[in-house]
Amino acid sequence: MALRTASVPIPSSRRFRLPRDAGLGYLLLAPAILLLLMLVGYPFLTAVVMSLQKKLIGQAAAPFIGLDNYITLLMDRTFWIVVRNVLVFAGISVALKLIIGTAVALALNESMPARGIIRSIMILPWALPTLVAVLIWMWMYSDVGGVFNSVLMGTGAIERPILFLSDPVLAMASVIAVNVWRGFPFFSITLLAGLQSVPSDAYDAAKVDGAGIYARFRHVTLPGLAPVMAVVTLLSTIFTLNDFAIIWLLTRGGPGNATDVLSTLTYKVAIRGLELGKGVAVSVLMLPLLIVLIVLLTRFINKREEAG
């Protein structure tokens, strides 16, 4: 009773309390914001400045050269190959992760024996360190004793080992496979949660109307799941576009430039090639695409927050 009567005078006292809240609000936020300014804001500005300079590792002098780094890159054929690679890599990986993640989420949504255990096992590829996942697949792909080649050769299916990582065509498929293996649980777990928030009455109504499995999926499941799918897909795309470890460790971007992506190119140009300014410019050129993705993502998240 005391609670209920107390809720009446709150609005006016809350308005009266606002300035005090504001002070505490900013205060609590301050450490985090300060850290972000120092660790994200400042490096970002430094990066932009660096990209406009001819800055090399080991040299103190960094002459301002304006947009030269960018122009050189945009006119370099290799750069566009790398752009194509990263789009292919991210595009196919995310699409596969979405499809597989949805399928697994749908399968896990039904009650069944050992569902909990199966669900726990399904998270494992995502829980493992990326490095571990990459090393395991590197070993499996190996043309010297790796299990894929050994089994294929042992059963006589092939005569010589398949060069999963050094064949120009296969290499991209191989790295995509690892990314998908590692990343699909993120989709399946999130989509499973999304599935469980689709009201079951909608399904019952559809069943009564005579809708079969496929029709129910298309008209009840998909619309309900679409917002979550959008958020997860956009998030995963952003992260996949930035992935470094998988490609670097498996192929170093090779053979040639076949699997080079913007992140590995940045490393090669800036750290290996000692051209810091140019290397940073490579990453900055990724920003337009990222901004588009981020704007889309923010819109979908806000829609979710309003609806939920």
């Binding site: 609670l3 107390a6 005090r20 809240d21 504001a22 505490l24 609000g25 205060l27 609590l28 936020l29 985090a32 972000l36 660790l39 400042y42 490096p43 430094t46 990066a47 597989i100 399928a103 399968a107 199966i118 096992i121 998270i123 494992l124 829980a127 493992l128 360190p129 490095l131 571990v132 090393l135 395991i136 070993w139 190996s142 010297v144 004793g145 050994s150 042992g154 293996w181 777990i189 999130t190 949660a193 979550v228 998030l235 992260f239 930035n242 470890a245 460790l249 992140s263 940045t266 750290i271 290397g279 940073v280 990453s283 900055v284 990724m286 920003l287 981020i294 993502l297 609806a307 939920g308």
Partner: protein, 297 residues
């Protein structure tokens, strides 16, 4: 007469409805088990292969005769790894860096999250967006300037430099995740406390924090995992073998022409143990935490 026909036709309809339901159930089960069966094999086999290689390491002669089952079990690869490389040092360094950055991120993040979730002030929405942006900001863009800045400060090859680098993503991540979690806690509880005369801070510490414990636990686990698994910054910043974390350390094992897979897989197994254990112990938190940002409620 018409009643009997009506009942009969209703019964036929019910039968065919039940029949189609049963058929549907069969189709569903088949689909379900084929998907899960394939997925389980694909998920489990690589991990099984890692363990098999670690405890039944292949001989250097790489005969193409390969068995999918262990012929013997031995710790020889693992002990060789621990003897010949600074593996234990790497592990200790990974743990140190992960624990420190996690603690800092969770503390700072919880305060910031509470502020963003509960208090009102101009610019709140914008500031919340800033954290999200910071989290998804491409690491590849930041790593070069961070490397340069830390070099100037003399903090490369130093765990402090790495901790600072990890705060770049752990702080925004914890803030974002905890904010989503805190907004799902009904505000009535605090309001009641405030009316009873508690200060905001008291309400936050005594009421909200205990309630938010699962969310904080999830954030802690995630942040630890992010730091433990991190590759790019560790690889670029740490070059001294005694200061390295596991990521660059393990990379040392795969550079060059001869790969000693037994040792590498032993290292991989050891590196996975802490995070896998964490996930199994705290699964519920993990799932709820993971979905807090993407799915509401």
């Amino acid at each position: 007469m018409s009643d009997a026909i009506r009942v009969a036709s209703a019964r036929t309809e019910a039968h065919s409805f039940a029949g189609s339901l049963r058929r549907e159930r069969m189709v569903k089960l088949t689909l379900q088990w084929s998907v899960l069966g394939t997925a389980l094999v694909v998920v489990i086999f690589p991990m099984y292969w890692m363990l098999l290689t670690a405890f039944d390491p292949p001989s250097l002669s790489y005969t193409s005769q390969i068995s999918l089952l262990p012929k013997r079990l031995t710790f020889s690869a693992m002990s060789q790894l621990l003897r010949e490389y600074d593996f234990l040092l790497w592990m200790r360094n990974s743990a140190t860096v992960a624990i420190i950055s996690t603690l800092l991120a969770v503390v700072v993040g919880t305060l910031a999250a509470y502020s963003l979730a509960r208090l009102r002030y101009p610019g709140r929405g914008f500031l919340a967006g800033v954290f999200f942006l910071a989290y998804i900001f491409p690491a590849t863009l930041l790593v070069v300037p961070v490397f340069v800045i830390l070099s100037v400060l003399g903090l490369t090859d130093d765990y402090i430099g790495l901790v600072l680098s990890y705060l770049i993503f752990t702080v925004p991540f914890c803030t974002w995740m905890l904010r989503a979690y805190l907004t799902s806690i009904p505000p009535e509880l605090e309001e009641a406390a405030l009316v009873d005369g508690a200060t905001r801070v008291q309400a936050m510490l005594l009421i909200i924090l205990p309630l938010a414990a699962p969310g904080v636990a999830a954030a802690t686990i995630f942040a630890f995992t992010l730091s433990w698994n991190e590759y790019l910054y560790a690889f670029i910043l740490m070059t001294d073998s005694t200061k390295m974390t596991l990521s660059p350390g393990m990379t040392k094992l795969v550079f060059g022409d001869i790969f000693l897979w037994g040792m590498i897989m032993s290292g991989a197994t050891l590196m996975s143990l802490p995070v896998v254990l964490l996930y199994f112990v705290a699964q519920r938190f993990v799932v709820s935490g993971l979905t807090a940002g993407s799915v509401k409620g």
